[in-house]
């Protein structure tokens, strides 16, 4: 166990910081949100040039062979600079699926394009938004000769508005409780797919898509028929760990903004930073952020693992804590900024909205805590304690 970054990781981190410092500010971000495209090819190209788009993909697939820790570094910086580009959806989620279950041929076609910044992917998976953790997949793919016919609808496709290709999850077998899920990869420009783009709370744009008996060939299948669920769980966990890292970067900025405000704003003849009641609230923000940092590192170390018990526990712990801490940090930042904290004018607003968006995606606090408990299938080993029941004595 080591906590220091390797030289390579530290250099990459500095490069990323320089790139984003130079090319990305809140003013730029706001312009990009207002623009017709809603994203910036320039920033994406910069990330490609730095190699960031291939970092968390395996070398066999044409990536740079990084894993959770490298993804953490990238996402934390994207959070710190509040970058809008679809790194999470294109690289971590969809890129991760290609990496984990694509054929040699599919990897050869898709990964170099993705890494070079020339082709974006999106993972179309979510359907019902009103049953966290319980919603079953309803999109189906039925066999027709050698081909497959996809029918259903997908919602909240992250990065969907700018993607060149979609990876679509569909039910290919249903046998009582057992469901076989298969992934299909299709061109986003396919005119048989109807999509509706709309903005989210944080200014990014997503897509809902309708699949009306979309017939695709066998080459569209990504991975093995019926066997996709464990890979979906895998990339969802990676993405969940990734948004926690992003949230960490955001919280660090929010905290720094708040400290600056406390040091400069004067009331009753002295800086707000002189009031102990405010100092202690600032400290509680800090403690929460440090706890998130610890669990983000822990999750980063497990998120790429195939051991699903350790992975789920680490990721769900990180997300549950990130949600709780994120809410505290945002609320305290607004409160300590007073009236100014309520304005859209301050960059604080952009950070708070993205942080809240992260809280709402990939599972809430209670959902994650239940997942954390349920992953612990092995009964607790408390054999060291003599069972109290056996030792009860009554007068």
């Amino acid at each position: 166990m080591r906590f220091a970054f390797t030289d390579e990781q530290a250099m990459f981190k500095d490069g990323l910081d320089r790139l984003l410092e130079k090319n990305f500010s809140i003013a730029t971000r706001r312009k990009i949100i207002e623009s017709k495209e809603g994203h910036s090819e320039q920033v994406w190209a910069g990330l490609a040039e730095l190699g960031a788009l291939g970092v968390p993909l395996s070398e066999e697939s044409g990536g740079l062979g990084g894993a959770g820790i490298e993804a953490m570094i990238i996402m934390q910086h994207l959070g710190k600079h509040l970058v809008l580009e679809p790194y999470l959806s294109s690289v971590i989620l969809a890129g991760g699926l290609v990496d984990l279950c694509g054929s040699e041929f599919q990897k050869k076609v898709l990964v170099p394009e993705l890494v070079a910044g020339e082709g974006k992917l999106a993972f179309a998976h979510a359907e019902q938004l009103n049953d966290e953790g319980g919603a079953a997949l309803e999109t189906t793919a039925t066999q027709k000769g050698n081909n497959w016919v996809l029918r259903g609808q997908k919602k909240l496709v992250l990065g969907g508005a700018t993607a060149d290709r979609f990876i679509i999850s569909a039910k290919t077998r249903e046998d009582g409780e057992k469901v076989g899920v298969t992934l299909f990869i299709v061109e986003s420009l396919d005119e048989r797919i109807s999509g509706k783009a709309y903005p989210l709370l944080d200014g990014s744009r997503v897509l809902d898509i309708q699949l009306n008996d979309l017939e695709v060939g066998p080459e569209s299948v990504l991975g093995t028929i019926d066997q996709a669920q464990s890979f979906i769980d895998c990339v969802n966990d990676r993405a969940t760990a990734a948004v926690c890292s992003e949230a960490l970067g955001i919280m660090e900025v929010i905290h720094e903004m708040t400290m600056d405000y406390l040091r400069t704003r004067k009331q009753f003849g002295s800086a707000l930073s002189q009031f102990q009641v405010l100092q202690h609230r600032a400290v509680d923000m800090f403690i929460n952020i440090e706890e998130v940092r610890s669990l983000v590192m822990h999750a980063a170390g497990q998120a790429w693992s195939e051991d699903s018990r350790e992975r789920v526990r680490a990721v769900s712990a990180a997300k549950a804590l990130t949600n709780r801490a994120g809410r505290l940090v945002a609320q305290e930042a607004i409160q300590l900024h007073g009236g100014m904290g309520m304005t859209q004018e301050l960059p604080l607003a952009d950070f708070v909205r993205r942080l809240l968006s992260i809280e709402l995606m990939f599972g809430g606090e209670r959902f994650q805590r239940r997942r954390f408990v349920n992953a612990d299938e092995q009964a607790v080993d408390s054999s060291v304690f003599v069972s109290p029941k056996k030792r009860w004595k009554q007068i």
Partner: protein, 398 residues
């Protein structure tokens, strides 16, 4: 960065488990696991085998007879030994004055005291707080006047844990009155058997005798028992407290108590079903478990900075705050699970020689007292409010 344990670290954990299983006396571990009262001899019977194995001072460097373990090894040792019911060793020698003497002591002091701390021959206690000086420790006014080759000490210390068991006390005393109250404080080492030292017990709200008042009346302390320079005791005292904070997190014990909490929840019912099947209750347990996991990773993170040669920074205050909050939450949830079966209160049943019947559930009885006892954790070692002041000023620059 690699947040996974290496194969060597995993093998070490097994070595620790084997050692504890073989050498920790069964009656001692049983008392620890059942939250019964421990006496000095119980702790000593775990101290000695560790000393003989060379594992008594995990954080001390080799040249002082320590293990020179990495922070990760120290953590593994803490967690594995606590899990099997090892008692907490007395921290005042090994964790407090030992590191101080290694950093500030003379060679003679190091040679005299460090071996006896390791062997367990000398037990220490801490003379910091005074009736008028708690959080505002620098206002202390136990006086030490230099007369020839000795200091004459007069005053009173309080909240002195296990003074009744101690052979030696390290004290912050005032040797002069400077312009600032932090100036003129010195650190002295004093034999508890010196004429004029008197220990008076304080009974805490759980009914136990753990802390004491220590009175000094014309106590003669040899001048060679001054640690560091005269008048520079304040920075030495702070050095000691920052060491105390990393140990005070108590992750090993909290992990064990979390397992105990789940164990209790499996054998106590709500509405006819084990509490462990109640989703509302388990949500709270999960929240606590996640906070404990965060604390554990933070300890490892802070300790790794320390191991790289840097002094424990004020960030260590986080460990004190969260570590003690978690300890307290654990005692609260344990008490909540057992409910009314913790009402019977028969403290003599928690000692060694109790042969009689115990009303209520044996395991539940000490939990109420333990809950009350643990309220101390957010007060001692610098209150959690003082820790927040430290972070505000020295980390956040407010």
């Amino acid at each position: 960065m690699d947040t996974n344990f290496s194969e060597k670290e995993i093998a070490f954990a097994e070595e620790v488990r084997d050692f504890v299983a073989q050498h920790l006396p069964g009656d001692v571990s049983r008392k620890v696991l059942e939250h019964k009262r421990l006496d000095k001899d119980d702790v000593q019977r775990w101290h000695v085998p560790l000393y003989e194995r060379g594992w008594i001072a995990p954080s001390w460097p080799d040249r002082f007879g320590g293990c020179g373990w990495s922070s990760v090894y120290q953590h593994i040792f803490d967690v594995e030994s606590a899990a099997l019911g090892a008692p907490r060793l007395s921290p005042f020698g090994l964790g407090m004055i030992g590191p101080v003497l290694m950093a500030y002591g003379t060679e003679a002091q190091q040679n005299t005291y460090l071996p006896k701390i390791r062997s367990g021959e000398n037990w220490w206690c801490q003379g910091y707080s005074e009736p008028g000086s708690g959080s505002d420790l620098a206002s202390l006014n136990t006086r030490a006047e230099r007369k020839g080759s000795a200091y004459i000490v007069n005053g009173q210390k309080t909240w002195t844990t296990h003074a009744q068991w101690a052979d030696m006390i390290f004290c912050l005393v005032r040797t002069s009155s400077g312009a600032r109250k932090q100036e003129g404080i010195s650190m002295l080492l004093c034999d508890m058997n010196t004429p004029g030292v008197e220990v008076r017990p304080i009974v805490t709200l759980d009914g136990e005798h753990e802390v004491n008042e220590v009175w000094f009346q014309d106590v003669e302390v040899p001048a060679e028992n001054l640690v560091g320079e005269e008048g520079k005791g304040w920075s030495i005292g702070k050095f000691l407290l920052s060491h105390e904070r990393t140990a005070i997190a108590g992750v090993g014990v909290s992990k064990r108590e979390l397992v105990y909490l789940k164990h209790l929840a499996a054998v106590h019912n709500y509405h006819g079903k084990p509490a462990i099947e109640d989703p509302v209750f388990m949500d709270r347990v999960a929240e606590l478990e996640i906070d404990l996991l965060a604390l554990e990773m933070t300890v490892l993170r802070v300790a790794s900075v320390e191991a790289s040669g840097a002094e424990p920074g004020p960030e260590a205050s986080i460990l004190k705050i969260r570590g003690t909050e978690i300890q307290q939450r654990l005692t609260e949830l344990q008490l909540e699970v057992v409910g009314q079966s913790a009402l019977p209160h028969l403290p003599m049943a928690w000692g060694d020689n109790w042969m009689g019947e115990t009303p209520g559930a044996v395991h539940s009885a000490p939990l109420a007292a333990r809950y009350l006892n643990n309220r101390k954790t957010s007060i001692y070692g610098g209150t959690n409010e003082i820790q927040r002041n430290i972070i505000a000023q020295r980390v956040l620059g407010l």
